[in-house]
Amino acid sequence: MMSDTETRPSGETRRRPIVAVRDVSKRFSNGTLALSRMTLDVMPGEFISLLGPSGCGKSTALRIIAGLGDASSGAIDYPGSRVDVRGKPEAEIGFVFQEPTLMPWQTVFGNVHLPLRLKRIGKSEARERIMHVLETVGLEDFARAYPRELSGGMKMRVSIARALVTRPKLLLMDEPFGALDEITRQKLNDDVLRLWHEQDLTVVFVTHSVYEAAYLSSRIVVMGARPGRVVSDLPLDAPWPRVESFRTTDAYAALCRRVSDALQLAIHAPSAAA
């Protein structure tokens, strides 16, 4: 990996976006305006980190991007992929929710098996793929455990394994590593980066950690306080591949400072009129 000097262009505009979010607003039935005219193009091959203050609508935005739930106004398009009758993309999307969202009556294996089962993938192939992703998240010994027997971080890793098992084109992750220790978090950071690199993945990654965002992303999108909208959009020009040593470079430190400043600005910026 170290000798691999290929750089991935960031903010690429030659190709059509995978997801185009145009002027999307979302008002919940209780009157809360969670998103206000949010616009975001997710380009193929990008690694976008979504940053913003708590409650600004990041989770809502991620669900909208996945085609879950309808926007109150605006449009979501999937220019690159076909859509089914309901206007939902047929492309493989992996979603890691903010909560583990596991079925308590299924074992770890059963939970990870679910997406493959829904896609009617054969037993033996499924088995191989499940054991492989469980190994990736370090849970191969817990395949037969039930969710209640796992710790919070382990449940989250099951959820990540479930999102990866279909080998998605677009991976949406909502604060996936929040509940993990620093070492596991760094390992999974590197795993996600490796998958992104190897499988030509596109990732939208919600996080509260400026350092994580700076380490992972090819582009950082900062959202302002509720109602959520994009307040700054920073393409990162830091070199690839990023490995552990990147964390000690001056470039990384400068990057973190830039992102941190943008976040400060977003939190203190006057919120747009609804």
Binding site: R63, A66, G67, L68, G69, D84, K88, E90, I93, F95, F97, E99, T101, M103, P104, W105, Q106, L114, P115, R117, L118, K119, Y146, P147, R148, T166
Partner: protein
């Protein structure tokens, strides 16, 4: 509390003995805990049994000492004798009542679960059908039993319908509640992977509704027996196919109170058996994952 030796008036051990003392204590404590668990387990069985034996003994003594006539309160021995001598009439009656109760419960399970699945398919179906289920439920069964007796082809069928109507609703309403109580993010997940309606029902909604179904089963099982008895009281017909409730009434008319108690005993035993069986089914289904069937461990 023997766990805290310092509190029981014994002086704390010297500084350098403390470690050894604590280790010895831990070993003893493990053994003591195992011992306590064993005692608790045996007590769980012996306490209810002893209590029951005591009640029967007090009852027998009360009847004997006060010379209570058997047509007021028969002694346990008299009841047991009646059970033995009248077994020829009571046993077929028990079978009849059991048959009605079990078939009513099975029908109520099929109907309740089936209708619940139908109701959650669309709000319109629910709006159209749910009121009827509620009306049937809130109308006292004794009040409609005479009507059902008129319409039904035989008394047996009428009793079956009554027991069914009573057991049906708790199963239906629990099941509807269960099918609707699915984690919304899990629903999102199924939508994301393009799951069909059937897949969502089979892999998500039905398993998620299991604890609710089990609650409905336990309530419905008990109610089916009660309704079978109440309906038979209302029907009050004699004949070869009469159940325990009729035998009970008959014994009362003839002032054969020991036999009445024997019939009552059989009814109680049936109720207990239904409760035990439904509880066992529920435990078997939920023991791997649901909080209700799992001991808390911190």
């Amino acid at each position: 509390m023997s766990d805290y030796p310092a509190l029981s008036g014994v002086a704390a051990p010297a500084e350098d003995d403390a470690g050894k003392f604590a280790a010895g204590q831990a070993g003893e404590r493990d053994a003591a805990a195992a011992q306590a668990a064993r005692i608790e387990r045996s007590l769980k069985l012996t306490i209810p049994v002893a209590m029951l034996a005591l009640t029967i003994l007090v009852w027998q003594l009360y009847v004997e000492i006060n010379k209570v006539p058997p047509y007021i309160l028969p002694s346990p021995v008299a009841v047991a004798t009646a059970l033995w001598t009248d077994w020829g009439t009571l046993y077929p009656a028990l079978l009849v009542t059991l048959k009605i109760t079990v078939s009513a419960l099975v029908l109520a399970l099929i109907g309740g679960v089936g209708l619940a699945i139908l109701l959650v398919q669309s709000r319109w179906i629910e709006l159209a059908l749910y009121p009827y289920a509620v009306i049937l439920q809130v109308t006292p069964i004794v009040a409609i039993a005479p009507l059902i007796l008129v319409y039904a082809s035989s008394t047996q069928v009428a009793l079956l319908i009554c027991a069914f109507l009573v057991a049906f609703f708790p199963i239906l309403s629990n099941m509807v509640q269960g099918l609707k109580s699915v984690d919304h993010n899990l629903l999102n997940l199924f939508e994301l992977y393009g799951a069909s309606r059937f897949q969502t029902l089979w892999l998500l909604k039905l398993p998620a509704a299991q604890p609710y179904f089990m609650a409905g089963l336990k309530i419905g099982g008990g109610l089916a027996l009660i309704a079978a008895v109440v309906a038979e009281f209302a029907a009050g017909s004699a004949g070869a196919g009469s159940g325990l409730a009729f035998r009970l009434l008959e014994a009362q008319y003839r002032l054969n109170i020991p036999r009445l108690f024997a019939a009552l005993l059989l009814l109680s035993a049936t109720g207990v058996a239904i409760f035990g069986l439904t509880s066992l089914i529920s435990w078997l289904a939920l023991r791997r994952w649901h909080e209700s069937a799992i001991k808390r461990e911190n």
